[in-house]
Amino acid sequence: MQAMINKHFLIKVGMILGTVWFIWFANGHFDEYTVRILNNIAIFVILAVSYNLINGVTGQFSLEPNGFVAIGAYVTALLLISPDAKSYQYAIADPYPFVMTLQSNFVVALLLSGLLAMLLALVLSFPVFRVRGDYLAIVTLGFGFIIKILAINHPEVTNGSLGLNDIPEFSNLYWTGGLAIVAVVVILNIVNSKFGRAMKAVRDDEDAAIAMGVNTFKAKTLAFCTSAFFEGVGGGLLAALLTSISPDLFDFFFTFQLLIIIVLGGLGSTTGAIIGTVLVMGGSEWMRFLDEPMNLFGYETTAMPGMRMVVFSLVLIFIMLFAREGVMGKRELTDLFKSRKKGGK
């Protein structure tokens, strides 16, 4: 028994070390385009594993990521843009004086992004978790809209629909990849803790969970706030990667993409969410051919821009209907080693 735990521990450490080595290697050897895609993947891994915590592990259908990512992105942007750059970019209204004084380093900016998102999640959890059912989905969907509307309507802070530009480019693979590792480790630890078991109990049978004395409100709120925190941090990383953000970036499509990722990877599996991210982020570049004219068995089709999205939505429906487990089901990558070992005996 002791040996098995040690072995699992070693596998995990090995995976982390492997990732660290890969980040180091990629930074030195890959071209910028590949590095950018890897940066996107790392950020989306953070978003996907945290989104999976509330949707997959706790089983509460929520559509919030775009709202919390937007908050994180704006907080980080406002804290990082130099006063000089702020002084010339406000096009629609003059910024409030306090906007000009906001300034911090990258770590503080990311932390504040996460904390603010978390605080909002806590506030939201009171109306939505008070009732059972699926109100969370519609409230979080509306919440995303409201955030976007607020960003558009407060040009004194957000520069309205033009968005914020000239954000210093702090994000690189060390930051995005490093924080992705942190997010995965933290979330896996939560999932495997007492709280994680409570979350899964809520998902599998809420009535039974209550009967067993699980505080379901606490479990749901913890899951929701943790996802919000990492979504805020991910938003901050995204802002510092793109160097320019605007409200239209954070529309519902952003959430839809994450939903596909976690469903494809297997709802409830954290490592599945990672695999889903790689598949979708890589796949959507690969699926560009769907938008272009195609030669189908000698029949030339015309270009159909947007076809990718149609295929994506069909993929989502088909996974739900015929392969609800996704790639990983509810298992984790480390479980694969476990079952293989058992099979060997």
């Binding site: 385009y33 996107n40 750059a85 096009a91 629609i92 033009l162 793109l242 270009a303 821009p305």
Partner: protein
């Protein structure tokens, strides 16, 4: 003898190689997603201009590499990085909207790759950027044109401005118009905010009717403007209305029907009154290929973004030297483009004419040209 022939052939092959290089120019455009209709139109102009003039003076061929950004910022960043690092483009045309274009420019700036925006009009776009240029005019210029024309030529003294606050485009125009119109001595009696996607403007038109201005300035895109015009007609509000290039398309007139008769708007160019020799040629070639004469402004501007880029490359000894191309773009003087005569300066903004059109009998009819 045989050896000599071989040598000659290989020399010739080498010569052709060194002469007829292929140079990559990137295009980042919204070919799918909500902005696809505009992106496809602009790209049509770029590609058509490329088919008319595919080679540089020195015989090098220009290869356009188009990447779709779906109108999304993350994809725009991916596309721009890919064009610069993998495709080694010497310059980029695009993107469509000001927010996406600023994303392209932010990345290209760091790599010293010139960007020419065909249709992004926000004033702030080129500020503090060395490698950013555009062939369209800015919002403030367009706002000024409307303000001056309405006040001086049409003698309209009071205005209601309806602004779409979800669009940078609309906000920039409204701001410039207000400044210029008040400076002339006009009065803004009311400003009303709406959001793109709104359909119900009954409350808005009732308010306008109550404010009773001389005319309405509606610097928005065609879906909202046509709705406002229709609902205004329903309640019997029949004041002159003025819009901007956001309504410069036939869909606007189809959507608006009778209600947009007499609606005035600014535009970049009119195919019925070609401003240069080059536009005549372009319109003729376009008519030959597509069977229609109606060259959309976005087609013309897309073509001019390409043409200005080619012209700048031709003026560089080494047409692959991005720094030189950028300097050449910014010293474009009296360039005869499809959409008019274009001058560019150090700021990257172009000085160019605008036209005013009016909807008459279901068609946009040329009314006059305004020079800067």
């Amino acid at each position: 003898m045989k050896k000599l022939a071989l040598l000659a052939t290989s020399a010739a092959v080498l010569a052709t190689f060194s002469y007829a290089k292929e140079i990559n120019v990137g295009v980042v455009m919204a070919m799918s997603g909500p902005l696809a209709a505009y992106g496809q139109t602009t790209n049509e102009g770029i590609e058509f201009a490329n088919s008319l003039q595919p080679k540089l003076k020195n015989g090098d061929t220009i290869k356009l590499i188009l990447v779709d950004n779906k109108g999304d910022k993350v994809e725009t960043a991916n596309a721009t990085t890919r064009l610069i690092s993998s495709d080694k483009v010497v310059g980029i045309l695009g993107a469509l909207t000001s927010t996406n274009t600023s994303q392209v420019m932010a990345i290209a700036e760091k790599k010293s790759i010139p960007v020419i925006a065909p249709v992004a009009t926000n004033d702030k776009l080129t500020e503090n950027k060395n490698f950013a240029s555009r062939v369209c005019f800015t919002d403030s210029f367009q706002g000024e044109v409307v303000a001056n024309y309405a006040f001086k030529d049409l003698n309209l003294k009071t205005a209601v401005v309806v602004v779409d606050q979800a669009q940078v485009y609309s906000l920039g125009l409204a701001k410039a118009f207000k400044e210029s119109f008040t400076k002339n001595g006009g009065k803004i009696v009311k400003e009303i905010k709406v959001s793109s996607g709104d359909k119900d403007f009954k409350a808005v038109v009732s308010q306008i009717k109550a404010a009773n201005p001389d005319f309405l300035f509606l610097p928005m895109y065609h879906p909202e403007v046509s709705m406002i015009a229709r609902q205004a007609k329903q309640i019997g509000l029949s004041k002159p209305m003025f819009s901007t290039d956001g309504v410069a398309n036939q869909t606007f007139i189809d959507l608006g029907g009778d209600a947009v008769e007499g609606h005035m708007f600014t535009d970049f160019f009119d195919y019925g009154a070609p401003p240069t020799e080059k536009s005549k040629e372009f319109i003729a070639a376009y008519a030959k290929k597509t069977g229609k004469q109606e060259v959309n402004s976005f087609v013309a501007l897309g073509a001019d973004a390409y043409n200005v880029m080619v012209d700048a490359m031709n003026r560089c000894e080494n047409p692959e030297d991005s720094i030189c191309i950028n300097n050449a773009i910014k010293s474009t003087v009296n360039f005869e483009g499809v959409s008019g005569v274009i001058n560019l300066d150090k700021t990257g903004n172009s000085t160019r004419s605008a036209v005013i059109k009016v909807v008459t009998n279901g068609k946009a009819v040329y009314k006059s040209t305004v020079n800067p």
